[in-house]
Symmetry: D2
Subunit: 242 residues, 4 copies
Amino acid sequence: MKRGKIRTKLAKVEADSIVVRGHDLAELIGTVSLGDMAFLELTGRLPSPGESAVFNALAVTLVEHGLTPSAIATRMTLLGAPESLQGAVAAGLLGLGSRFGGPVEDVARMLQSGEDAPRIVASYAERKAPIPGLGHPQHTEVDPRVSRLFAVASANGIRGAHTELMEAVAQEAERALSRRLPINATGAMGAIASDLGLRWQVCRGLAVMARAIGLVAHVQEELDDPVAPEIWRRVEDEARGL
Amino acid sequence: MKRGKIRTKLAKVEADSIVVRGHDLAELIGTVSLGDMAFLELTGRLPSPGESAVFNALAVTLVEHGLTPSAIATRMTLLGAPESLQGAVAAGLLGLGSRFGGPVEDVARMLQSGEDAPRIVASYAERKAPIPGLGHPQHTEVDPRVSRLFAVASANGIRGAHTELMEAVAQEAERALSRRLPINATGAMGAIASDLGLRWQVCRGLAVMARAIGLVAHVQEELDDPVAPEIWRRVEDEARGL
Amino acid sequence: MKRGKIRTKLAKVEADSIVVRGHDLAELIGTVSLGDMAFLELTGRLPSPGESAVFNALAVTLVEHGLTPSAIATRMTLLGAPESLQGAVAAGLLGLGSRFGGPVEDVARMLQSGEDAPRIVASYAERKAPIPGLGHPQHTEVDPRVSRLFAVASANGIRGAHTELMEAVAQEAERALSRRLPINATGAMGAIASDLGLRWQVCRGLAVMARAIGLVAHVQEELDDPVAPEIWRRVEDEARGL
Amino acid sequence: MKRGKIRTKLAKVEADSIVVRGHDLAELIGTVSLGDMAFLELTGRLPSPGESAVFNALAVTLVEHGLTPSAIATRMTLLGAPESLQGAVAAGLLGLGSRFGGPVEDVARMLQSGEDAPRIVASYAERKAPIPGLGHPQHTEVDPRVSRLFAVASANGIRGAHTELMEAVAQEAERALSRRLPINATGAMGAIASDLGLRWQVCRGLAVMARAIGLVAHVQEELDDPVAPEIWRRVEDEARGL
C-alpha cells in the first residue's frame, strides 16, 4: 500500500515563527484583516481590494440572523455546560447542514458544474427538485440583501460568469415553471462566491466561519441575559400538559 | 416562579430586513469587514479605526497554527464523515478548552480581577500555580508575535491599563521567582483584548471564531490532499505492534 | 524529550479478529449485554451478576428524561442538518457539562477524596458551596429513583463505603445547616458508582453513554413528529414582538 | 400557518416520577438492562428474550474497534480540553458519518426499500456503485463476527426476510459481477437490525450509542496513559520536515 507523507501547505511552524500560506504571521498581524486572512487561508493568496470587499460582504451577510435553530442549540447547550463556550458554539455549528449552510454549497456546486442554464433547469425539473438559490419562503417580495450583494460585487468588478449563469437559470426556470422565481440570498451568495473563485466544497464553510462569530455573541448574551431556561420551562410545561 | 421574556439584542429579524445590533444588515454588507462585524457583535458598536486594526490583529493571530490537535481532530472526523464539513470543524473547535483557547481567557480574567500585580503574583505563588500569560514552552528566547501585537496596539492607541498590569505582573513574577518569565503570545492577547474592552468570558471566543476559519481551510486541504488516512494507518500499525 | 509508544489496552485489532480487553469480540457477541460490555470497557473485566445488575440500573436511570435542554439542542440541530444523526446526538451530548452530567462526577470525586464526612461538610460550608448530591430543586419530598437505586444496590451486595459516606455527609450537613437535605438521585448515583469501583473521572461518562441512547430516540421521534420547527417559530415570533 | 403541539411520547416527566415509553422509570431501574432500555426507547416496547439477545449482540459488536479515527479525534480533543469529557466523546461521534456508521444505515435502507434482489443489484450496477454490506477491505477471507451475528440471530429466532434478502443480494451480486462478495459485518448488522424491526433511519444510531461507550473508555485511558501528545508531536515534526 502506498504510504503518504504528512504535510500541510497551510502553515510552516518553526520554533520562533509561523509562516501561513507563505506569509510570515508576524507580518500579517496588523496588516491584514480577519476577512482577508480567511481569503488567504482558502485561496492561498491575499485578495485584491475588490476581492476583499466582496469576500467580506459575503461573510458579513452570514454572521447573525437572530434566534435561529443554531442559536437556540448553542444557548441550550450552554445551560448544561456553562464552562464550555467552545462546546456551545460547536453545538450551534452542527446545525449548518443540508438545510442551513448547505444551500449556498448547492448553488455553487450547480454553477460550477459546467452545465448551461437550460440543462440545469431541465435536470432539476426531471427530478422534480427545487432549484437551489431561487425563491424564498419568507422574503416573497424582495430581499434587500440580494440587490445589495450584487451591487457590491458589481461595484468591485467581481460580477462574472457564475452570476450570469445564476441569472440565466432564474430566467429559464421562471419561463419553464411559469412563476416568479427571484434569485434569493443563497443564490446571490453561491454565485458571488463562485465568481470569487471559491470551490463549492467550502462554500458551506463560509457560513460556518461567519456563524461561529455570531454564536460567540449569543453565548455572551446568554451569560448575561439567559433565555434558555425559559424556553426549556415552556417546552417542558407544554409537554407535561401543564 | 418568575417568567422571563424571550428576546435578543443581537438582531431584529423582520420579513424583509435584518437589523444587527442597531445596524441594517443590508447597509453593513459591503461597508464593514468581517472583523469589524465581529467587534460589533461582541461590543454592540462598530470599532474606531484603531480598535479595528487591533481587534483584527488579535483575531488574525489565532487563525492558523498548522497541524495542531484541533486540526488533526477535524481531519480525522472528515475521514469518517466527509459529507459534513460542519461536523469536522465542530470537532476541531471542541479542543479549544482549558489548554488551548482557555489560557487567553485566564489571562483576561486575571487582568480584569481588580487585583494589583503583587497580589496577583502572591495568589498564584500560594497555590503553586503557573501565572497565565508568562513563559513559553517552545519560544524560549523570543516570540515575534508578542512584540508585533504590542507594537500594533501602541501604534493604534490601544495600549492601556491591562497591558501595563500584565507588564507589572511579569516584572513582579520574575523578581519573586528569580527567573526569566517573558510575556508570551497568550499574555499579549489577553492584555490587549482587555484593553479593547472585551470581557474575559468571551476571550476564549476569539480563538473559537478565528480557528473556525483555519479549520475550514484544513477541511479544504484534507479533501484535496488527505493526511488522516496515513495518520490512522501509522497509529493502528504501531498499536498492533506491526 | 521522551518519546512515547502509541498503544491501547482497550482492543487488539487483527486482520481477522478484534480482542476487546482480553476477550475475543466474536465470543462477546451474543454472550454479554451492552451494559456489561460498558462495564468491561471501563473496568477491564466483566461484572459479577450483582455488579451487572447495579451498573445497568445506574445507566438505565440516565437514558431518558424527556424534553431536556440536551434533547432540545439535538432536535434543533436536526432541523438544520437532518442528514446528520451523529451531529444531532453530539450537539445534545455537549450539554452534559458542569450542570447536567457533571454533578454525578462531583459526588464521586467528593466520596473518593479520602476525607471523612465532617471534613467534607466543613469544606463546602467554608466555601459556601452547595454539597453535591444533596437536596433537589424539583423532587422536594421524595425522589422514588433514590430509594430504588439504593434498594437495587443493597439487594445485589454493592452497598459499600461510599454509600455509607454519602449518608454520613447527608446527616452531618442536615445537622450543620439545620435543614432537610436528603440524598438526591445524583448523590445516589455517585455513591453507587463509587462502590462499583468506577473512578470519578468517568462518572460523567455514565451520563454521556446513557444519554446518547436517549438522544438517538429523540432523533427518531423528531424525524416522525417534529417539534423543533414549532419551538423555533414561537421563539422567533416572541423575539420579534409578534 | 398550522401551529403544532410540543410533546413527546418518549417520557412523561412529573414532579415525583418519570414514565419512559409507558414504564415507570423507578420500575425499570434494576429490572431491565441498558441494552433493553435502548430497545424500549427505539421501538416503544421491551424486547422478548430473543430480541434482547440479538439487539444486545448488535450493539456489543459496535462498541470498541481500537484506535479508529473516531478514537483519535476524541483523544486529540481531550488534549486541548481535558475538562470536557462530553466534548471529547462528541468529537469522536462526529466521525460516524457516511463512511463509518453510515454504511449500516445504507444496508438497512436497501433491505427496507421493498425491492427484490435482482432489482437491487441491477440498480447499483447501473450507477456503478458498490453494494453496501458486501465485501470487506481487510477481512478478505472470513470475518468471524459475521457468522457469529447470524448464528446468534438464528439461535434466537430473529432470522427473517431481511437476512434472506441480504443473502439473495449477495448471491445475485456474485453471479452478476463474477467475483466473491461475502456479506460483511455491516451487511450482517443491517440485515439483522432490519429483522428486529429497526427503521433504517436509526441504524446509524446503533453505532452512535454503542461507540459512545467505547469513546468514554478511550477518554479514561487517555487520562491515564496518553497517546495524543505523541501523535501530535510526530505529525508536527514530519510536517516541519524534522
